[in-house]
Amino acid sequence: MKIVVAIKQVPERDAQVHIDAAGKWIEETDLQYALNESDAYALEEALQLKEQHGGEVIVVSAGPERVGTTLREALAKGADRAIQIDCDDLGARDALGVAKLLATAIQPEDPDLILTGLQSEDLGLGQTGVIVAELLGLPHATLILHVEKTETGLKLKRELEEGWFQTVELPTPAVLTIQSGGNKLRYATLMGIKRAKTKEVRCVTAAELGVDSVPVVVLERVTLPQKQKSTQILPGSPREAAAALVEKLKFEVHVL
């Protein structure tokens, strides 16, 4: 099975973020980046499918030069090769624009399966995989926790709301967006990291792909959320704060 996994590099989960001077995005200097969590699960699913059925795993990512680090990390975990879509204006592109970049880069590979994470931790759009499927004319399924290969295609475990699940069957080639938690993630081994250095990373630019960047939806302004409630912060040492909270629970919330 030839599998392409679209992955995204996002700010590290615990990173302190500050709005940039233009108020359009966040300050990116000194920010630490990591592989988006649900994309890590998509990669894991791809690697397991390859281990079961053979084939090839290709990772693809769009973004500035630093994205290369995340692609190398995926190669170290076991992906066979990588495609890096070099573009410095990822933030100026809307979901359709980014999906066009990915779809155009993936199409010549003619894969049996395209996987990506359910959503990114930075923009949280949750649209990329679905639009890639639409652009390539492929069937898709979202929120997938488990993938099983069948005679005719795939049998999937899809997550629904409030603790419900559903089995979905579809033919390949197809696009799946993977939910976190379906598998146990692997770590890169020392051998894997060493091998990754010799694996192919092919670079293409947005211009070479012939994809323009005229958006139909624009992120105009980034702001700090307004507090929905006026939070009373209980100060002091842990003991003092705990004692103050017990008072509140007793006399204000009436639960003690």
């Binding site: 989960r13 302190q16 966040i26 809307d94 979901a95 359709l96 999906a99 949280g124 759009l125 949750g126 649209q127 679905v130 639009i131 639409e134 652009l135 069937p139 898709h140 399924a141 979202t142 929120l143 997550e159 629904l160 709301e161 409030e162 603790g163 419900w164 699940f165 559903q166 979905v168 579809l170 976190s180 938690g181 958006p215 139909v216 939806v217 624009v218 992120l219 105009e220 302004r221 980034v222 702001t223 959320p225 307004q226 507090k227 929905q228 409630k229 939070t231 009373q232 912060i233 209980l234 842990p238 003991r239 704060a241 705990a242 909270l245 017990v246 509140k248 007793k250 919330v253 639960v255």
Partner: protein, 325 residues
Amino acid sequence: MSGILVVFEQREGHISRIGWEALAAGQRLNMQLGLPVSAAVIGADTESLAAEIAARPLAKVLRVEHPLLAQYTADGFTLALQQLIESENPAYVIFPHTYQVRDYASALAARLGQVLIGDVVAIGDGPVFTRQLLQGRLNGTYRHTGNGPCFVSVQAGAFRQEEQHSTVTAAQIAVFTPAIDLAQIRTKPGEPFRGSAQTVDLSSAQLIVSVGRGIKEAENIPMVAELATALGAELAASRPICDAGWLPLERQVGSSGQTVSPKLYLAVGISGAIQHQVGMKGSQCVVAINKDPDAPIFEIADYGIVGDLFEVVPALTAAVKAARQ
């Protein structure tokens, strides 16, 4: 191009609650733009659903009906709504941000050369649409600049449905029959099933102590469990804790877990990502213990303790026990 189209969603033969919230968002746009609001309901038999919707102040209700729409498929719903939108030509299409909508609305928008503005929490003058970024740490304001319908989905709980007084005359109901061929539906969905026997009903719990990523290790869970026991509270968790298998899935609160509304929700080491907030923001009193003063959970907390949970939780357990004596 004119009008606002609100797409309702049904669950087990009823209009799901968040559909009414999408309507509230549509009415919000109506106040700003003066455009008429219509509704669409999709399925194989939508007569009673349409009648329920038609009691609201709407220009019309469209029954998008076809035998192949009996069960949701992305292909079927995308085709049906594409045809409806091409026929009705609305300026705005509003969805509830459900798992179903997340599965097809962005493909539908892309097919029409547009981009869905998803998971919207507020609508401002312009109109501009606010959605959360970086797991709720920041807000982003979006504007639709394309020529064509503007697609929006609204987050659960973000728009309150107005109390309706039945003084309005029932809206006109029309049937729209899309052309769909069985061969166009490529996925085969199965019946929904429960993951595990649901023995914990968090939705009726009065007191909940919930634990998140900040707990770091499975071995640290008993420390929070002890606090829950001291309070007489149910123990719950955010998704990563259940994903890691540290607590069973049935104790998960959030969009993929249970929705709770206790008197007290005590969040320990939970940053409060959107998906978690959706499941607990109906709580009467939210208390958050977190080392990060900028954690989104503090935006919705009534009381907060900024500090190391490994020091605060044992101190709190001791103080609760002392108060109980």
